[in-house]
């Protein structure tokens, strides 16, 4: 059931407390989804509403969900993450009330990582001052690019000036800061991408999440590309940018601990790591996803319906029990994205010899092509394989023949 290998446990040293083995593997995450945005980014297919009308009711409903689900997590909460949408639309009283509910109902470790996603245009002095007075101790700033043309193309709410100033300001209040950067934007030159990275490095950000611009169905971006208003996304360009990204950041002491995430030692995102290492998490709020034991569940992605259900004391969630094959497939898919890789011993003990043998059979072709490598019992994608890792994972899947 638990995917943490011994090697990984060694990597995760908790010096502030002395938790037992059992406690470490049960450490859990809380994810809170704030489904509001001031305006829609052209590429986004996450769940959000641009109407703030129901914000108060929603915060109330989130509180209710938190208290209703207080017994679902088997272990202590080690990190809390406010994602969105735009969590930086939350006021001081919103945050205070949510924290009160969490601390009243959940066991939280002594020094939890508490992240709030923020848009640069929300981060003025007074908001940052307020935030630093709450339990929030980490910021994830949606910078995306330091260049005006990119921000316009993506319809971001902030401009290039705000991108930079928000970080300079945030650094006065927070040490643990992450920024998002998007690459593979049509017509983004290699020089501009390098300049973006240089700017981030110059600002001394300890954690960078970097995503290739992806064209999702039913987004404005897709529409504009179809109408030839914006040139299409080019995979070759994305790959070129990705290679520059990995080289540049690794040279500067960042580890590419997960496909899209780079951190200086001690600054890896606990929340993101949880998703890819099979740790448990509760997702609170509309459209949020949870994973506990072998059950995945997800809330309804409609704000009024979510609010209505919780007002009636119901949890508007659907759930799915994972079969052994599902869990094997997920283990392969998630672990290939991380620097910890797939542990063949874990495959054998958790899923059985059949799975281990199947996996060994199917990795050979990729080893020959130089896309996968074995380091002892640990299977990892090579540098060349990284950008193809979903396809490789899919090939290693066992098919559910239901």
């Amino acid at each position: 059931m638990f995917y943490l290998s011994k090697i990984e446990l060694k990597l995760k040293e908790f010096d502030e407390v002395n938790p037992t083995f059992e406690e470490i593997i049960l450490m859990s995450s809380l994810y809170i989804h704030i489904p509001f945005c001031k305006q829609a980014c052209h590429y986004c297919d996450f769940h959000f509403s641009t109407s703030l009308k129901h914000k108060d009711q929603l915060v109330e409903a989130i509180g209710k969900e938190l208290s209703m689900r207080k017994n679902e997590l088997p272990g202590a909460v080690e990190n809390i993450y406010f994602g969105g949408g735009t969590p930086s639309l939350l006021s001081e009283s919103d945050l205070t009330s949510i924290f009160e509910t969490i601390y009243a109902h959940y066991e939280v470790v002594e020094y939890p990582e508490i992240t709030l996603e923020a848009n640069p245009d929300d981060l003025d002095i007074s908001y940052l001052q307020m935030l630093s007075g709450t339990k929030v101790n980490r910021l994830s700033i949606g910078v995306q690019s330091f260049f005006e043309e990119d921000l316009k193309l993506m319809n971001r709410a902030h401009n290039a000036g705000e991108a930079e100033s928000s970080i300079l300001l945030a650094k006065q209040f927070f040490d643990n800061i992450s920024i998002d950067l998007i690459y593979g934007i049509p017509e983004m030159s290699v020089e501009r991408w390098q300049a973006n990275l240089s700017k981030a490095l110059e600002l001394g950000i300890p954690h960078i999440s970097s995503y290739a611009l992806t064209v999702e169905p039913n987004t404005a971006l897709k529409h504009f590309i179809d109408k030839e208003i914006i040139p299409p996304v080019d995979d070759d360009l994305a790959k070129l940018h990705f290679d520059i990204l990995v080289d540049t950041l690794q040279n500067m002491g960042y580890e590419n601990y997960e496909f899209s995430n780079f951190g200086k030692p001690g600054y890896f995102s606990q929340n993101n790591t949880a998703y890819w290492t099979g740790k448990f998490y509760l997702g609170i709020g509309p459209s949020a996803h949870s994973f506990v034991n072998s059950t995945r569940s997800w809330n309804i992605n409609n704000n009024p319906k979510y609010i209505k259900a919780l007002e009636a004391g119901e949890l508007p969630a659907k759930r799915e029990e994972l079969s052994r094959t599902d869990r094997y497939n997920e283990y392969i898919m998630t672990r290939l994205r991380t620097q910890w890789g797939v542990d063949l011993k874990v495959v054998e003990t958790e899923f059985g010899l059949n799975y281990a043998a199947y996996l060994m059979d199917h990795i050979q072709a990729f080893q020959q092509q130089g896309l996968l490598k074995l380091e002892g019992d640990i299977l990892k994608v090579t540098g060349d394989g990284k950008f193809l890792s979903d396809g490789i994972a899919s090939e290693l899947f066992m098919l559910n023949l239901k």
């Binding site: 790959k239 995945r296 997800w298």
Partner: protein, 598 residues
């Protein structure tokens, strides 16, 4: 015999044949409510979905008229050009035909060719104008079309709506009054025409026949004239919704026969059944051995499913004698079968039945017709080429002949131009142009059958905005200039992608095949060159660029399930592909040549 009426229905697809048959059965109370299903006569799933009656059936009903009971035998006919021989045999079993014409769409080519068949067989035609209730109906104009076509009187055309139940009684009365009673000698030796057969897994082949002379009795020793085989008539009877066993079926009537035959090949549509001891001297004329027109390779996607495929094909052949196949092997695809079909629809039906009834995922290769090749060594003895790889090398080849057809297309006058240019592009020669009415034109062409196989129907539909109907009949072999175009993937010839093309089209089509394959072959971890070649000469080239990115950056708030399911789907898709060398080729790529204009 004077109270028997044998008739069939001639109609274009969707002109309402099945619905009308339904209404006739309702009206004569041949069906109880419980038994009633929509479109009774089409009982294969596939037929229902496609809206075509693929295999014909027959059904008997009793209609009281002016104090007397009349026995009606309705003989159903398939409505697609691939099955025109079967239609001709059904027509030969009747004395009358209902000609159903859609009041909005008027007469179509298929209807006309079947109508001519009926007229040649001296059938009494009862024209029925169907769907008169439709808003778009044009009853007066279409009545004119019918009068022009068959030379009847305007009052002879019955206006009906099968859907609304309008005109049904009038049709039934007309059948009694206008269709002649069968003629025949009840005392002469047995002489019956086989017009259809159906495979029943429990009882063997059920043969449907029409008795012309004499009678057929249970237990009688009988003989099939064309196959020369003798059987015992284990059971005879008439066809209602269920079978009614009887002691005897007499001259003029229609019935079924069970002899314990297990293989459809032994019962040939058009054959004559006679008495074994006292055989008839004149078998029913018009018998033909049905010959396949289109050939294609069928291979299992998984190489180890060859034996399963063989079993499935053998089972299919039991109830579809027109399917022929021989084992063949391909360097690219391994072991499979070269199959012969009546036409493209027949091919699609077989492919679908393999998937549905036998759960076999198969790869079908580019269909082709059968050619006669003559070598320099023996210029008079043809080598029959039904697989492109069998064409002798150019250095040994004297000449090649290909099958030609006479094609008839009926369209609106405004589309004559585009239809003509399509047919000329398809190497057709115009032989006739007749205005059936003011704005309906019949065009006749001689053209190579091979051109029909390649995307002809779809293009005809496109250029005529759907207002064209098409029919054809073979007119023999003609000399032609053909070359074999090979396709190379990653430098290796994939024999299953080879095609025989006319030399004038080879460059253009070779180029388009490469372009289409580029679309259909998914990007893999390396560049895949696609080349078309005639002999050693490369005539076209494209490249499927290596896959650069196959990873999504983000995971929607921990939605691992969605991501897993997406990747599972990706893997399932790959299971339907065939690995040739190190290139994975999707099923549909083997038919790429047919989709060049999509």
């Amino acid at each position: 015999m004077k109270n028997i009426r044998n008739f069939c229905i001639i109609a274009h697809i969707d002109h309402g044949k099945s619905t009308l048959a339904d209404r006739l059965l309702d009206f004569t109370k041949s069906v109880t409510e419980r038994e009633r299903k929509e479109q009774l006569l089409d009982n294969m799933d596939l037929e229902r979905e496609r809206g075509i009656t693929i295999k014909s059936h027959a059904i008997q009903m009793v209609y009281p008229y002016k104090g007397e009971d009349y026995v009606f035998n309705l003989i159903d006919t398939p409505g697609h050009v691939d099955f025109s021989y079967e239609v001709s045999r059904s027509i030969a079993a009747c004395e009358g035909a209902l000609l159903i014409v859609d009041a909005a769409q008027s007469i179509q080519a298929q209807t006309i060719s079947n109508l001519y068949l009926a007229l040649e067989n001296d059938l009494e035609i009862i024209p029925v104008l169907n769907k008169v209730d439709l808003q778009s109906a044009n009853p007066d104009e279409v009545t004119d079309d019918i009068v022009d076509l068959i030379g009847c009187k305007r009052e002879d055309v019955i206006r009906a709506s099968a859907k609304e139940g309008i005109g049904i009684e009038e049709i039934l009365n007309a059948i009694v009054e206008r269709v002649p009673a069968p003629k025949g000698d009840p005392e002469a030796p047995l002489r019956a025409l086989v017009f259809d057969s159906v495979y029943n897994p429990f009882r063997g082949i059920e043969t449907y026949f029409r008795v012309f002379d004499g009678s057929i009795k249970k237990g009688q020793s009988i003989k099939f004239v064309a196959t020369g085989k003798n059987y015992s008539a284990d059971e005879v009877g008439t066809l209602k919704l269920v079978q009614f066993p009887k002691k005897e079926i007499k001259a003029g009537d229609v019935g079924y026969l069970i002899t314990g035959i297990k293989n459809a090949k032994e019962v040939k549509v058009g054959d004559t059944i006679t008495d074994a001891e006292n055989p008839t001297k004149n078998a029913v004329s018009g018998f033909e051995d049905v010959k396949p027109m289109v050939f294609a390779g069928i291979y299992p996607v998984e190489t180890d499913e060859y034996e399963e495929l063989r079993t499935a094909m053998e089972k299919l052949q039991l109830n579809d004698a027109s399917l022929v196949f021989v084992p063949e092997s391909s360097a690219a695809l391994g072991f499979g079968f070269r199959c012969g079909f009546l036409g493209m629809l027949h091919l699609e039906i077989i492919q679908e039945r393999l998937e549905r009834e036998f759960d076999m995922t198969v790869i079908t290769t580019v269909p082709n017709v059968s050619y006669n090749a003559y070598t320099l060594k023996d210029k008079d003895k043809p080598i029959i080429v039904s697989n492109p790889t069998d064409l002798p090398e150019p250095t040994y080849l004297d000449r090649v002949e290909e099958p030609f057809i006479k094609a008839s297309i009926i369209t609106k006058s405004e589309f004559v131009g585009p239809v003509m240019s399509l047919c000329i592009e398809k190497r057709g020669q115009i032989t006739n142009q007749t205005y059936l009415t003011q704005d309906r034109v019949e065009l006749s062409f001689d053209m190579p059958l091979a051109e029909i196989v390649f995307d002809f129907y779809d293009r005809l539909k496109t250029v005529s905005k759907g207002y064209a109907s098409f029919d054809y009949s073979p007119i023999g072999m003609r000399k032609s200039k053909l070359v074999k175009v090979d396709v190379l993937l990653n430098g290796n010839t994939v024999d299953a992608l080879s095609a025989l093309l006319h030399v004038d089209n080879a460059y253009d089509i070779g180029k388009r095949i490469c372009e289409k394959l580029k679309e259909l072959i998914p990007r893999q971890q390396f560049d895949i060159p696609i080349q078309a070649a005639i002999g050693a000469k490369i005539i076209a080239r494209e490249t499927v660029k290596a896959l650069r990115k196959d990873v999504t950056a983000k995971c929607y708030g921990g939605d691992i399930s969605r991501k897993r399911k997406l990747l599972e789907k990706q893997k399932k898709g790959k299971k339907r592909m065939r690995q040739v060398g190190n290139v994975e080729i999707p099923q549909e790529a083997f038919m790429a040549v047919l989709k060049l204009n999509d």
